[in-house]
Subunit: 767 residues, 2 copies
């Protein structure tokens, strides 16, 4: 298939063998928007939550002892514990590194400015930024191109059943950690929360897969996790831990994993994710305690953002609601505009990045230089303001963090724009959120900061480095909120710091389109629950407004990357189609006892990953056999010279671990199996290895109803059986590909697309 | 069927017609634990998330205009808005009423005690309590017995697909509101949070069902909500709003609905529930503001519990973790003991309550008198303590609330036990959670309070009145935490108020077995996010410990009530059974064109709610037709004299609203339909009314796998088809009943039950 994955979503073998560097497009001509950003090979594997019921697995289940079950459960909880520990340690390390690297940079530059060596200060500042950006971009491009971007779309797609290769390799993990430290330290307007989610997911995937091989866990332990369900459970926990570590928001992390990431969710998983996040919270709390006593270099006061507006006594009345509503509506429009522009810029960058490594690096360098110029240049436009009397903070602040940056000003004065620009994003947010600073910033400064952040974050995200979107959106939103606060002035009782929080909420809600999780993350960040009703109101309004225009940013990026993400709700036209309208292609059917040559031929000629098995005369459907199981049988040469039913003893030599799912890079290929001419003429008894009770639907079922089953259970293959008798007992196999709107609309262009497109907004609300 | 609902979970007609007052037992002898508490008729109706695809519905879908779709979506959001408004108003009213009634009672009693008229004070106190309890018990027993208890199990079962009759009637709502006010005001150790959840669910159900008929919404609007899916969505939102209103914890409410209540959850539902809870939060905030200015009688300072420990600067270190762990472990054991004892007491009360109305009332009165004696009597055992110097609060407090109750003491002294006992539960919790009061309570007082609360709450829950469990568990847990704090003394840095919060968390976690939602509810109650890591730790440990002993309290009550609750995970033995092992009974199959007499006979003779339709020779499965649709056809007399295929024009006279689901009390019965002899000999063409693409499974599928489908999609009927050819194309119908462990183990007693039972704990962790 042209776009690197087969019709049923399992890895296209071509793309497993040779990295595809060309732009991949969907088979359908109607979908010009499908293109891959970045240039990494992207075989896709669908997940399978279906219980495979063949004789081998059934026998294995019966023989599984209580002790083994106990082992399994203990191990799963231990893995969650380990994931929590490792994610919090890495999250802490990333923060520590960023605070120290960026802090050192600002200290050196500030010291030079105090000595009036402005040009040298700029050069050092710009050179440091360029070097860090270059480093991040180089390691990403050369070592692990799949780490570019935040990683949230990849993890979200994985949890939906789309396995992009190498997104969870050890190399990816390392590059993501080092790269995000470098990128964030380089003063680019990028965040570390998205990469933390990817890192958390990576750690989880490695812990239950490759990592365990490395560190000598025996196969007995390992084989339990050789299935999609357990892996995805742990990856969900890992992504929860990632957000928990990035924002020190454990409950927010769990909800984020639930609301945004997971496609299948069970109550038990909630508990497991909560456990992992609790481990992160407890450990981070301890580590931060150590740092508060000053043992972490420049880390002490900044980092691990916690914008403490606790002690503000939030009082607001009905009269405060209208301005907040206006803020939310405009924020909603700005957020959807943000998504729109980001999509456009990503397409543009995609064209540039495809031209080669040099172009990627050049682009990153240009963005870095532009950023340095703006950060250093714009504060000169702001006038110096005299320090206010009686503040608890030192003014002007010299050094790393603080509200009142001296920059070029006289003693006793500060530059309000430098307080925002000439700082890490974390500190800028802290300044914007801080209370009792209503007079600190001038309108023009905040406006300039808002506009710069808005566009810088759009232009920074697309570079080939591990960069996130969360923090840039928060800082942009906070400046937007401050601006609203300044414009409204004293007619509102609300503190400007609170306006900043609400502004951040509105832009986040409009861009990411989450509700409960963003609400909790913001509350955990600001540690002030009294804000709750207002934050909820802003999130609701801004999300509703933005939903009228476009999709959430992660869905947009997934579409750009060409991931076949399976939505929960059916498109309206799917109720008009039956499954027989979309199921297609020549069907390869095996007999219960099949010639080896036929099997090899079918495996070589098609990319299908499941084949129906038919027995008897008149034929009845026996079940479905998977490609990977067939390859195992061929590899083990489980052949008979004549058509023979396999005897029980022979079958008992197989255990379910022989058929366990391999890691991403270990999938075996039919081309690797060598068979002699004689062997090709032999037979295999497929009965004991066939899933004898697959889920089936009748050919007259509507596509919408079949999707409910396919998506609800998390299937990889869905057999279609005929309604009438006297035909082959199976009509076709539905796979993920068959539910993709572009595939369906390609087959049925008469389904007036524009008509249904206009209904999309309504239907997204409907579900 | 003996237990009031048919095998497929739809209402047994017998139980619809005549209230069953006898104890119902499951058909299986192995399940002595299945019994109904209370004595209300309990027909059960399964939900149906399946898309019914028959010609009529398909035609209706095609004819649905964009305007109608827009109407539908708007109406659903408007209903959420209305639910939010109404729930918050009712929640506020309940609080206001309780605070004023209970407050007035305490003021009068306190004034008499100041005048040294102790006996009169006691008599008035006891009489007021008795009167209120009697009132609550009387209206519950005589008007709406289904309102007894918290209502959370009923709502949870409803959301799982079990419709107990009358739980959402207008009568139920009224009795629940008035009854819970009376019961809580009567100083019984009962709560109002559970009833609030039921009230929220009731309002939601009425809003989209009966209520809309009353208030003149046209059928055009109404028909959209005549399906299970929309009703259950709104009931979920209603229960979220209930918790949001009870605890002023909107995010906690949403999570509670997600974690504890809902059986099927979609991301879109999260948003809708969030919206509803936000409305509640915003409106409650406004209403409380009004009360703070003193316009609500005695309400001002108490009520709408918000235990403000904001300003405590929580600092803790690693050394504080061991005592907290010990607290959590003991709390876990105490919580599971609580569940165990409560189960025993409920069984006992069940036996008493069954004897008749007089016994119910007598029991309630005895509990009330016992409570009054304990509350008034026990404080005399505590010695008076001198008021501490320099407290911000008045000491002793005379009047309603406050930390230092005078009770019988000299001026300048206070009775610490009276501060706890002689108060509303809300105020007792507030006292226990308060900071800087480490010396206020004596160990023996707190110990006495803890023991009394523990047992009083167990003995109070079973009375026939609308009473909840949340607040009693919180107050018991808080006293337990305080006790631990007092026992540990100065070796810990933690404030005793914080110990109380952690104690409440441990008992809640061990009794209710929720994690994220309890965590968020506690944080929203105490408004202190810095507690988060410790609360998470305590919840995790106590839940884990308690899970080793028994199930959560709501599941226990559901089992006692005999609700056929369908669990998500399959029991281990279900992997050993195929669906053909459990599917049973003579199967009634209709032809595509069927004689009226046959249909009437089948409907009269069986309680089945779905019938396979078979056509052609050799027979093929055409689909499934529902009892309710057959009754509609019979009622409309859609008959032909000879076997005839219905013409399109005739079918077009039906619209989907003819087949829409009726309200609980409006289900039509076959007995109500009168047919002449001639009509009985006529024919109906079932084709256009048959769901032509039902979900099917093959008979060899394991029960576990079929359960995944049944539970995952939310089905009511699942057709079993044969594996081999040459037989009737349908083997049987799987219904909810067939997945109930007691049914399966009744059929297969050889499945060594004890073996699997011991594994239950492990498997609950496994999922």
């Amino acid at each position: 298939m042209a776009n690197g994955f087969t019709s049923d979503g399992l890895p296209d073998e071509e793309s497993l063998t040779a990295p595809l560097l060309h732009l991949r497009r969907s088979a359908s001509n109607t979908t010009s928007q499908i293109a891959i950003i970045g240039s990494y090979p992207c075989p896709i594997e669908s997940l399978d939550y279906e219980i495979i019921e063949n004789d081998v697995f059934k026998q294995d289940w019966r023989s599984r002892s209580k002790f083994q079950i106990f082992q399994f459960i203990s191990l799963k909880w231990i893995l969650c514990f380990v994931i929590g520990i490792v994610v919090s340690l890495i999250g802490f390390f990333i923060n520590l590194a960023i605070e120290n690297i960026a802090g050192e940079k600002f200290v050196i530059t500030s010291n030079m400015m105090i000595a009036n060596r402005y040009l040298a200060a700029f050069l050092i500042f710009a050179a440091a930024n360029l070097g860090l950006t270059l480093f991040a971009c180089l390691i990403t491009t050369l070592i692990a191109p799949e780490t570019a971007g935040s990683g949230i779309p990849e993890v979200k797609a994985y949890l939906n059943g789309v396995d992009a290769t190498a997104i969870f390799s050890f190399r990816t993990l390392l590059v993501k950690i080092v790269g995000s430290i470098a990128a964030v330290s380089s003063s680019l307007n990028v965040g570390k929360a998205g990469p933390m989610v990817h890192i958390g997911a990576c750690i989880a995937a490695l812990t239950c897969q490759g990592g365990s091989k490395r560190y000598g866990l025996t196969w007995r332990w390992l084989r339990f996790f050789n299935n999609d369900r357990d892996r995805r459970d742990l990856v969900t926990c890992g992504s929860a831990a990632g957000i928990a570590a990035a924002f020190r928001a454990p409950v927010g992390g769990v909800l984020f994993a639930l609301e945004e990431m997971a496609s299948w969710w069970r109550s038990a998983l909630l508990w497991r994710a909560f456990f992992t996040a609790a481990i992160v919270a407890i450990l981070l709390r301890g580590l931060t305690d150590i740092c508060l006593s000053g043992k972490c270099g420049l880390f002490g006061t900044g980092g691990l953002i916690m914008f403490d507006v606790t002690s503000v006594d939030v009082t607001y009345h009905l009269t405060d609601v209208p301005p907040v509503l206006v803020l939310a509506v405009i924020g909603g429009i700005a957020g959807s505009l943000y998504n729109f522009l980001l999509g456009k810029v990503l397409r543009l960058y995609n064209l540039i990045n495809e031209k080669g490594t040099a172009y990627k690096i050049l682009l990153a360098c240009m963005v870095s230089i532009l950023t340095s110029c703006l950060l250093f240049g714009l504060p000169w436009l702001a006038s110096c303001r005299p320090c206010p009397a009686g503040t608890s903070e030192p003014c002007p602040t010299i050094g790393r963090s603080g509200n009142y940056k001296k920059f070029q000003c006289q003693p006793g004065h500060y530059n309000d724009l430098a307080s925002l620009f000439f700082n890490t994003n974390d500190d800028a947010i802290k300044n914007l959120f801080s209370k009792d600073t209503d007079t600190e910033f001038h309108r023009s400064s905040v406006l300039m900061f808002f506009i710069t952040c808005f566009f810088l974050s759009i232009f920074s995200y697309g570079i080939v480095a591990p960069v996130g979107l969360f923090i840039p959106v928060i800082v942009t939103g906070a400046s937007y909120g401050r601006l609203v606060g300044l414009l409204i002035g004293s007619t509102s009782n609300l503190n400007h710091g609170l306006f900043a929080v609400l502004g951040a909420a509105s832009l986040l809600g409009a861009s990411m389109r989450m509700t409960v999780s963003l609400c909790v993350i913001l509350l955990e960040l600001t540690n002030n629950l009294l804000l709750l009703p207002l934050v909820m109101l802003v999130l609701l309004v801004s999300k509703t407004v933005a939903d009228a225009f476009n999709h959430n940013i992660y869905d947009q990026i997934m579409t750009l990357k060409g991931f076949p993400y399976l939505e929960t709700h059916a498109e309206p036209y799917m109720r008009q189609l039956t499954v027989s309208d979309v199921v297609s292609g020549p069907l390869h059917v095996f007999n219960g006892i099949e010639r080896v040559a036929n099997i090899v031929h079918a495996l070589r000629m098609t990319g299908h990953n499941g084949f129906p098995v038919v027995v008897d005369e008149p034929p009845i459907l026996y079940g479905l056999i998977l490609r990977s199981h067939l390859i195992t049988l061929l590899k083990k040469k489980f052949f008979y010279i004549t058509p023979t039913l396999a005897d029980v003893d022979a079958v008992e030599k197989f255990s379910s671990s022989d058929f366990a799912k391999r890691g991403f890079r270990n999938a075996e290929k039919i081309e690797d199996i060598e068979l002699t001419e004689e062997e090709m003429e032999m037979y295999i008894d497929l009965h004991p290895f066939t899933n004898a009770s697959p889920y089936t639907v009748v050919e007259t079922m509507s596509l919408a109803k079949a999707l409910t089953l396919f998506r609800g259970i998390g299937l990889r293959h869905l057999l279609v059986v005929p309604k009438t008798s006297g035909r082959l007992p199976v009509v076709g196999i539905l796979t993920r590909h068959d539910f993709m709107p572009q595939h369906i609309l390609g087959l049925h262009p008469n389904l007036s697309r524009s008509k249904w497109k206009r209904l999309r907004f309504r239907f997204s609300l409907l579900n």
